[in-house]
Subunit: 369 residues, 3 copies
Amino acid sequence: MHKNILALAALWGSAAAFAQSSSVTLYGGIDLALAYYRGDGTGSRIQLVPGGNQNNRIGIRGREDLGGGLYAAFELEAGFNADNGTGLPTNTNNQANGTVLATPGTQGLTFNRRSIVSLGGDWGEVRLGRDYVPSFWPIYLYDPFRTGVGFGGVTIQGTTVTNLRASNSIGYFTPACGTPGCLNFFGQAMYAAGENQSSAAANSDGRTMGLRLGYGGEPWEVSIATTKTRAAAVGDFTQSSGGGSYGAKFGRLMALVGVNRTGLPVAVLNNGNRAPFWQVGAMIYAGPGYFPVAYTHVGRNDAQNSSASKIAFGYVYNLSKRTALYTTYAHIENKGALAIPVNVGADAGPTPLPGHPASGIDIGMRHTF
Amino acid sequence: MHKNILALAALWGSAAAFAQSSSVTLYGGIDLALAYYRGDGTGSRIQLVPGGNQNNRIGIRGREDLGGGLYAAFELEAGFNADNGTGLPTNTNNQANGTVLATPGTQGLTFNRRSIVSLGGDWGEVRLGRDYVPSFWPIYLYDPFRTGVGFGGVTIQGTTVTNLRASNSIGYFTPACGTPGCLNFFGQAMYAAGENQSSAAANSDGRTMGLRLGYGGEPWEVSIATTKTRAAAVGDFTQSSGGGSYGAKFGRLMALVGVNRTGLPVAVLNNGNRAPFWQVGAMIYAGPGYFPVAYTHVGRNDAQNSSASKIAFGYVYNLSKRTALYTTYAHIENKGALAIPVNVGADAGPTPLPGHPASGIDIGMRHTF
Amino acid sequence: MHKNILALAALWGSAAAFAQSSSVTLYGGIDLALAYYRGDGTGSRIQLVPGGNQNNRIGIRGREDLGGGLYAAFELEAGFNADNGTGLPTNTNNQANGTVLATPGTQGLTFNRRSIVSLGGDWGEVRLGRDYVPSFWPIYLYDPFRTGVGFGGVTIQGTTVTNLRASNSIGYFTPACGTPGCLNFFGQAMYAAGENQSSAAANSDGRTMGLRLGYGGEPWEVSIATTKTRAAAVGDFTQSSGGGSYGAKFGRLMALVGVNRTGLPVAVLNNGNRAPFWQVGAMIYAGPGYFPVAYTHVGRNDAQNSSASKIAFGYVYNLSKRTALYTTYAHIENKGALAIPVNVGADAGPTPLPGHPASGIDIGMRHTF
């Protein structure tokens, strides 16, 4: 009987008949830090924090050569909190109601970080699924921390569900530069559906569109990007970012500038409708590792002209290409109505009183496989 | 200390001591389609739909030769929605209250598709765990689409939690035909527990029993099957199905007939207690792929003699054995009280007004590994 | 563009650049038993029970040699219920409110069993993440069943969320004995954070500390351990355990003694504040397997001087190192106010009337990979 099923299955190439596991790579990273975070006026917390140097993930990816320069590829990547073993939620429709947090201790693994299948060739790559939005890339690429208590994006990203990734997306990526060390133009375009029924009142909600354009390679690159997500009730959210990085002998220099906008009049929103930000950072090589350092500033056009400045520095000591020990210190100076904690996520630091500072330190270990 | 644990563990063959990962295959499939679905009188939706050609899954399976013709095997398979990265729920007790949907964006991966361990030999195979019910197989095997907007089973299956799989099951499968191309009898029997306490009022609820018998191999086979699930309050659910397929040079022909029954008097149920169905389908080979086409009819013995007819056709273009591009168009003509949407699941099309048509199109890519 | 990201990523050793999947082992075990459990006065249940001989798990682990005797290692292990495919919840803060059960059928896979990264060398090993508490090990190591209906720990462990594992932990393990068959001292120390904000009323809740010390190797070992978890409202929970095992030619003998304490006065708690327990057990080798047998006694200093005694025996027939068939019978004699069912977890047996017996039998198959 099994044979019969397989014979039939073979007619349209099911997994059963054509499994070729050799093409699949199982990969991941686990990173935990002992952390002490403080919010002025509200107290402190001692925690084991996931992802002080790299966010925890486990993934599978593969690539198939289809001949004639064509290839098919996929990537499924699940984030998790290594301090307690929970997974992370994803979002189903690029709208706030597409993520409703699970009860404590129960969140299972989802492919929240990436869930894509793609077809590529000399003409570039088309991707379907859940992927990073274009405007995320400069914020990530031009920050020397990229995650953890030092990450400038903590103050920058805003809380919109599409500030990192979008579900239901179709993306196009320009082809990679063919030769090592060459400089070239690169770009990404994304359309993601909100998947509302046409008869719904705000049937465009969740529709996300973005574009990224850049030029460079090694040792330098620059790029700009923007992503807009429709949200009738609370105002369309637009994240724009741009910057560049330069690799010198002594380290890597980075600069970033951008703005988050919400499409309602400032009079309607108490906390403003514009949040411009800029950041300068560097990774200074020293011994078997580097010192990351960054200064980030974010403003807001509310009644109090609120703002926040974050300074962060640390050291990453590489025990191997896969394993590192690290420490990071960060301090946020909030002004006006802002009360940004020093880190975000499940193990964020305490939210300080509005206009008060927050600070924190991570001491941890990162291991990738 | 580790050594001590391992030494003890060795006494009863724990994973720690005897891990032989070489016997394990990691496999899966990712399939996404851009879809436009319409329900007459209720609107339309543009979506990225998972599983237009094959349902998304990731799994692990292995088999161990125990000597003397005996083998042990296992399979753990998790479904997921590749458009947003969520997993899919399973069911704990073969009853409606054994699946209560998680909040949006939070459903983690479960082994909802299959979770079995088995022992086999010349005498057949005994399986324990969560597996497909016998009556599912004809509905799946004799449909040229098997999933997505073209799948006839969308109109056929009913909404009972055991219409595809049952948990807590013990199954027996007849041995596979020993030689390639031979014709033989095959069969499957299943018993699945509802796991209620004996003192409960409806303590048989969820108990599921099924049987499947067939004859064939290549190029043809026929089979019939039935599965009954106890449910005191809403009436026992019985799904019966039978059909066959024939592989010709130009393609594969398929026919299917069956009925879903609910064990309460029709007077009690407004929507009838019988839903007979039949389907004819074919896969016509053409170029590096095939045209799937099917016509499905389902009736219901309610006051209005409701019925629905679905016609679906498409093309599957194989880029390789593992990768295909495809498109499918489907149209459902509802009559009487029926209001079946063109697809099911998280990304189902809009439910039309009762007695009104629904239609939809998928354009997608499927990649297996 | 991809190249650019990778080039940057290489600067701090991301997974993308340095994935070396060869170091990773995918492992697991699937174990299902047909079970009949009875609780006197409350009825019986027929079930398919996961983990009659070994709890179901799937995991990934790896180890990297860093030179100079140093190594990095990780282990991510998810438990699941193979009878229906659900995962298992974890706990986020070592407090009762850190696990709030998911709705039926929806619990996804979490790394509830273990989620650790570690750095080790001649001086021992430091571990971060979710791991077993010290006092769990004697209860596990000196029981011949370790899981399933025969497991003495069922009556022993108490229901505190840290009776098996703790999240947010930092642990130290003494180095393993260098040569095969040597006897040595071994030890484990653990600190786990409750992660409450300092301004919270019971800000120490969930803080867990434990210690384990032992001596031995093959053929014998002894060890003692204690773990204390802070819980202001319901009283600190302290689990202490100790015992040993001896490997003879005919089998392995085991003895265990310990006590669970709750730090509130007995007058406040109706069910006492001390639960002393002891157990004797053996694994008697016979044919291609062994007979496990154990007698467990637990008391309680409540008004009725309640107690429970469990006797269990079975046979494990090894088909190979990875695969076994087994059967286990167990009987609990409850006295006073105690009403312990014969097994625990999702498929526990019916809870008997207080002071009444419970019993059960498992017949199953275990396969590891």
